[in-house]
Symmetry: C2
Subunit: 109 residues, 2 copies
DNA sequence: TGCTTAATTAAGTCAATACTAAAATACAAA
DNA sequence: TTTGTATTTTAGTATTGACTTAATTAAGCA
């Protein structure tokens, strides 16, 4: 789950969004959309590759980049489980609080 | 959306998970669960605070930490939209491919 | 082969991050 | 008001991360 580190960088998140919308883009397509230099972008692409967030196909000299959906789905799952657990613990706290209140009311009678 | 940077650090992600399950924990509770020194953890808590991923309540000398659900929900949304767009662009590609195939078959007739 | 295009890697620099030890702050209770 | 407990801040250091320029690799074409 080094997905977070890879996605922490705004440029890399931007590249991922571009790829999600376009389906696929060559390295040059990607370079052209940023002020940053090709080597800078290429280094970001390397990080995304190593995090398995993208996959590459060779077409002649070109490298065509695609989103690799698996890590994104894992991330989606992680957050889903997280928010569920959070909700559960919140519900337990609420229930406990209600119990305390009714106990107090009994004592007051 | 500096949520990603805050969650990129494993210790911080760990703290968030602990808070999601427990509902709330004091700083000492959190320190006790890591090998890292109290100051190290305290600095991580500061990052989480500044990213608004947690909120704090004072109880005497203690600081009680809670998950602040909003940024996590935003994150969940971001990924949901991302995967939806990815699916859409994938569907469009599939459709295009099918069209190409039937065109080719017509020509072969 | 030699040239061009596409993309990456290497080397160096600067800023940001994470840790440690020591000091400081906050609150409560003796 | 001194002491103890809880927590944070500061200062210093080491590591990591992102960018730049220059060099290198890879593939296709004259």
């Amino acid at each position: 789950m080094d997905t977070f580190t890879a996605l922490a960088e705004p440029t890399r998140r931007n590249i991922m969004e571009m790829l999600a919308v376009s389906g696929n883009l060559s390295a040059t397509d990607i370079y052209s959309k940023f002020k940053a230099s090709p080597p800078a972008i290429s280094q970001h692409l390397k990080v995304l590759r190593e995090a398995k967030l993208v996959r590459v196909e060779k077409r002649a000299q070109k490298r065509i980049y695609f989103v690799n959906p698996e890590p994104m789905k894992e991330l989606e799952q992680w957050i889903k489980i997280f928010t569920e657990r959070m909700q559960d613990s919140h519900d337990r706290l609420e229930a406990l609080l209600q119990k305390q209140i009714s106990k107090t009311q009994e004592q007051e009678r």
